[in-house]
Symmetry: C2
Subunit: 320 residues, 2 copies
C-alpha cells in the first residue's frame, strides 16, 4: 500500500508527522510512504520505501478554506491529488480539517448518495470506544445528511470497530422523541424509517457514558459537544493538579493515588484515537487531530491500512 | 415581596421546594410565600407568612409542553397566573422548563423587542461565575434572537452579577470570525454592530476557562454544551472514585487528598447556581434546575428578591 503524508499539517508538523511516518515505514517495509512537504524538509537519509514530493505552500491551521482554490501547490492539495491520480492509496493529514475535506471533496469527489462528507470521531466512553459523527466537518446540515451520517457511521462501526448491528443514537436536548430542534425532529423521523438499529435521542451527558454505538449529530453540535467535554476534563485535571500539590499532606496522598490518576488520564488521551477517515469521498483520507504526535500518526497509518485492506470505501458506497 | 412557589415541580418536589421556601419565609418575615400545590400537600402548621393555593394537576418533568393549554389547573400555570394577576411579584419553579417558559410567555407576555424568552445559566469557571444563554429554552433561533440574548445577558451580568462592561462572546466551532454555521456567522455580524462589548467567537473548550462574561448561543447548542460538560465531569468523578477505592494504598492516598477533591466537587456543584430568571418576559419567573434541593430553592428565592429590588425586568425592557 502507498500512503501520502501531508507532513506540513498539524501543531507539531513536520517533526511529529515525519517521526510517525518513518516508524510506519520501518514497520511495513512492503508499503510505500510518500512525504509531501516544503523542499527544505526533505532528508536524503530517509529509507528506501519513503519518497518525497515537494509542495510550494501550506494551508495554515485556521486559514479560510476558500484560499485552497488559489493554493493548488499546497501540501494538502498535492497529497490528496496523489490519491486522485492513483499514485497513492490513502492520504493522511493533521492540518486544517476544512482544507483536507475541501481537497478530498473536489479531487476525490463524493460517493453517490452522500451529500457532504463527514468526520467520525472515536470517543472513549465508560462502555468502551464509541463513534460520533459528524464531528465538525459540516456546520450546517440537513436531516437527509444526518441520515447519511448514520448509515456511514454504522458501516464504520461494523467494519473498523468490529461491532455488529451498531446502536445508532441521535444527539438532542432531551431523550424524548418530541425533543429537539427542527433538524433533529426531522432526522428522528428519517432514522426511525431507515432500517438502521436506531435507539432514539440521547443527551450531551450520555456521550461518555455509552449505551449507544454511533452518535449522530450535525457538525456544529458535534464540535461543541466534543470541545466542551475536552474543556471540562482539562479544567478538572488542572484543578486536580492544583489541589494535589497544594500542601505536603496532599502531595503525599497524590503520590499514593498517582497510578490511578494516570490510568484516568490515559483513558481520555487523544493519542488513543488520533485519526478518522473522512466518510463519503471516493478515497481514503485520514483526518488527524491537529495536535497529533508521532503515536497519533502511527495509529492513523494503521487505520489507513485497515480501511484499504477492508475496501472500506467500497462498502460505504454500497450502503449509500 | 410576595413569591409564588410551584411546590409540585422538580425531582425532589414537593419536600425540597417546601423546605427551601419555609427557610426563606423564616429569613424574611416581611415577605409572603405563596405555595401552589395539590391539596394533600398543604400543612396547616406553616408559619403566618406562608399561604396555600391548591392546584388540580401537575405538568410532568418531560411532558409535552403543548399539554399545558389543557392543564390550566396545573401548579405552574396557577403560580404564574398569580404574578399576572398582581397577587405575587415572582414565581419560582424547579419543574418542566418548557412548561414554565410557555406559561410565562402566554400569561406574562414578552417584553417588547424580545422575540422569545431565554434562560441564562451561571457557570462556574476558572475565572469565576460567567453567564451562558440561551441555556436551553429555544431549540431553534434566529440571529436576531441571539442578539437579543446578548443584550439581555449583558443586563443580567451588570445588574445581578455586578460586572461592568461585560465581555460578550459567541459560541462557535472556532474562534476565527469566518468559523460557524449560518446562524453564528449572521449573529457575529449583528453583534459586531451592536454597541455591546463583543469579543468574538469562543469554542466549547473555552466555556469553563473564562475569558468572557456572557456566552451567547442558541438553546440547542447551549443545552448540548452544558450537558456534555456535566457528563464529562460526572464520568471523571466516577472514575476518580473507582481509582481512589481500588486498593488499600489508593484509599490511604485518597484520605489525604479528600479535602482538595471536596473543594473541586463544590466548585462544580449545581447548588451554587440553581436558579436563573427567565429573560424577556414581563415578570420575574425563576427557573430552577430540576434536581434542585432546598439550598437551590433558597438561593433562587434570594435571586428573585434581588431581581425585584433592582427592577430587573424594567431594566431589561429599557435595553430591548
Amino acid at each position: 500500500m502507498r500512503i501520502a503524508f501531508d507532513i506540513m499539517g498539524g501543531d507539531h508538523a513536520p517533526a511529529a508527522i515525519i517521526e510517525g511516518a518513518l516508524s510506519l515505514a520501518g514497520d511495513h517495509p512492503q508499503d510505500q510512504m510518500i512525504f509531501v512537504g516544503l523542499p527544505e524538509t526533505e532528508n536524503k537519509a530517509w529509507p528506501a520505501n519513503v519518497s518525497f514530493v515537494p509542495c510550494g505552500s501550506v494551508m495554515a491551521m485556521d486559514e479560510d478554506v476558500r484560499n485552497l482554490l488559489s493554493k493548488k501547490d499546497s501540501s494538502i492539495w498535492i497529497a490528496t491529488d496523489l490519491v486522485k491520480k492513483g499514485e497513492a492509496d490513502a492520504i493522511i493529514s493533521a492540518g486544517s480539517t476544512g482544507a483536507q475535506m475541501t481537497a478530498a471533496t473536489l479531487l476525490l469527489s463524493r460517493i453517490k448518495g452522500c451529500e457532504r462528507p463527514a468526520i467520525a470521531t472515536v470517543l472513549p466512553t465508560l462502555e468502551g470506544s464509541k463513534l460520533m459523527l459528524d464531528a465538525g466537518a459540516n456546520a450546517d446540515c440537513s436531516a437527509q445528511m444526518l441520515l447519511s451520517f448514520a448509515k456511514m457511521g454504522a458501516v464504520y462501526a461494523e467494519q473498523l470497530l468490529g461491532m455488529s448491528q451498531p446502536r445508532v443514537a441521535l444527539l438532542s436536548n432531551g431523550s424524548e422523541e418530541h425533543k429537539g430542534n427542527k433538524l433533529v425532529l426531522e432526522a428522528h423521523s428519517l432514522l426511525k424509517e431507515s432500517g438502521l438499529n436506531f435507539i432514539g435521542n440521547r443527551e450531551g451527558r450520555d456521550i461518555l457514558n455509552g449505551g449507544y454505538d454511533v452518535m449522530v449529530c450535525d457538525g456544529m453540535s458535534g464540535n461543541i459537544a466534543i470541545k466542551s467535554m475536552e474543556g471540562a476534563i482539562m479544567v478538572l485535571m488542572r484543578l486536580l493538579k492544583q489541589e494535589l500539590t497544594a500542601s505536603l499532606k496532599a502531595k503525599l496522598g497524590a503520590a499514593l493515588v498517582m497510578g490511578g490518576l494516570s490510568r484516568i488520564k490515559e483513558t481520555f488521551s487523544q493519542d488513543n484515537n488520533s485519526g478518522a477517515p473522512l466518510l463519503g469521498v471516493k478515497g481514503i483520507s485520514i483526518v488527524c487531530h491537529g495536535n497529533s504526535d508521532a503515536k497519533g500518526i502511527i495509529s492513523s497509518g494503521e487505520l489507513a491500512r485497515k480501511c484499504f485492506a477492508n475496501d472500506f470505501v467500497g462498502k460505504l458506497a454500497s450502503v449509500l
